[in-house]
């Protein structure tokens, strides 16, 4: 089973997906940096304000936040303040609690996802557009759905790893990329 999982994380398609996530994070970061900088240059050098550029920058930011959140879940780098690891150290109890918390994290992400999906459907029906650039809001909510969907998926994988660590004593680190 461990071999299967290791093959899975080495699979070119899996690696390609991670590369795409990193590329989206890179491009969106560059886009909002340049957008804000252009606004500074336009305003202070040419005394001209670029209409809608702040909204454009904030959209690029939102894309980066949610795709980045998914990648951070894959990297297991979300902020948590666990005392269990400190008290019990490595072992079955910690792995068991870890499995429980990851399952909870997966379910809570699904809870946000379902609310977001409702909003996505509503926005699509109402054809809601952004205030300045008149961009369809479903694009932004759609990106958030993708990001949160991947976040839920990675939490589920982490739950699976922790569960195996609890039941079969497989160190979770071995399956972590």
């Amino acid at each position: 089973m461990l071999q299967e999982r290791q093959i899975q994380i080495q699979h070119p398609l899996w690696q390609f997906k991670l590369k795409i996530l990193r590329l989206v994070m890179f491009i969106s970061s560059i886009v909002f940096t340049m957008a804000v900088f252009l606004q500074v240059v336009a305003r202070y050098l040419f005394n001209y304000s670029l209409f809608g550029i702040e909204e454009f920058a904030s959209f690029a930011g939102v894309i980066m936040y949610f795709i980045g959140a998914a990648y951070a879940t894959h990297e297991r780098s979300h902020i948590s303040a666990s005392l269990i690891d400190t008290i019990f150290g490595e072992g079955r109890i910690t792995a068991g609690v870890h499995a429980f918390t990851r399952l909870l994290a997966f379910l809570l992400t699904l809870y946000i996802l379902s609310s977001l999906f409702d909003l996505f459907i509503f926005t699509e029906r109402m054809n809601t557009k952004s205030v300045e650039l008149r961009l369809p809001m479903v694009w932004i909510y759609g990106t958030m759905l993708v990001g949160l969907g991947l976040t839920a998926f990675y939490f589920l994988l982490e739950f699976y790893d922790s569960l195996r660590a609890t039941i079969w004593h497989v160190p979770a680190e071995e399956t972590k990329q």
Binding site: V36, I79, A81, L83
Partner: protein, 434 residues
Amino acid sequence: MSSLILMDVAILVTLMILGVPVALTFVAAAAFLVIFGDYNSTTFLITAGYSKVSSVVLLAIPLYILAGGIMTQGGIARRLLELADSILGRYRSGLGVVTVITTAIFGAISGMASSAVAAIGSIAIPRMVEQGYDRGYATSLVSCSAVLALLIPPSATMILYGWVTGTSIAACFLAPLIPALLLIVLFSLWNMILTRKMDIRVAEPVSFNVQVKTVYRRAREAGFGLAMPLIILGLIYGGVTTPTEAAAVAVVYALPVAFMIYRELTFRSFYDVVWKSAQVTAVLMLVIFTANMLARVLTLEEVPQQILETMLAVSDNPIVLLLLVNAFLLMIGMFMEDVSGILLAAPLLLPVVTEAGVHPVHFAAIIGTNLGMGLITPPTAPILYFGTLIGQTTLAKVVNPTLVFVFLAYFPVVLLTTFIPQLSLWLPSLITGL
């Protein structure tokens, strides 16, 4: 307070202790209130979170993190450390003082306590150990100093506070600056006292001329990095740009410095720095997104008013109220990192401190120093734990010196900041007019 709210707090704390990611503990707390409250739809939770994270003001945070990341990759940490070392390094316990000052300045450049621990700690701790400092002590000194990143402008924590409470970010940047300087002085003094019994070896003395030349050479090398926070602050306080725009200028400034002047950044490492900074930001932004979901429900449930009434029922004496607020903030700081702490505590406690006659800018300094102390106070102490990883030591070896820094440096500064408003209001009123 209602039993529903108390149960909600219990859920929040329990899930945090168990290790559920902080962002999702906020979702759990919000979901609990929504399920047991009188709400027909949950989409308002998403719009509450989205309306906040899509704010242009908040773009300052990823931009500062990116600028700090580029500078770090460009090798600014080593250059800063070498500059400070050339000035103070030949004195006994001088390297400890050098570490405190460098970590504080680096914190100002990177805006993140964890970056300061990683960048300065990985260079300074081995160097201190080589000179004869105790490894646990060196790790503790770096970790405690790194928390100054929250207090020295431009600070991500202060951007968040200003944004959440609708207070001037320029004024909030300046509010915790004097408390931060007091902390630098106290850390340096305690460093001299605590290292008295250590067998520290210092370099051979050199002539005055040689030292001046060395300081000049290293100042020239570090100058481009040191200029970055000055440019940012100059742009903001000169009224030229907003904090977000100043952050974008900082990124654009950092690029030629790291690529062409320091020559330590390649296109490959630039790509990595950008997406890694994006990842760090995304983690914070998810916390901000979900904290705003919870904040919306708490506001609908009138929790800030309930907290105010509960605290006023204990006492209406401003001193007692402020002591209670400090205790509350310390508890929050012990269990949460600074971003979550600010997002949760600032809107809840602002009505209470306003009732006690505290100015919102003064409260920025109070909340900053308290949450900073929480980051290095066990049991959770995230920065201290991170420091032990960088310093390759155990928590047991770090705890004793940390308790000295917490109780004999941080705690007095927290009290001074709370009860002497001039410490945090003098600079903002002088520069921004307040």
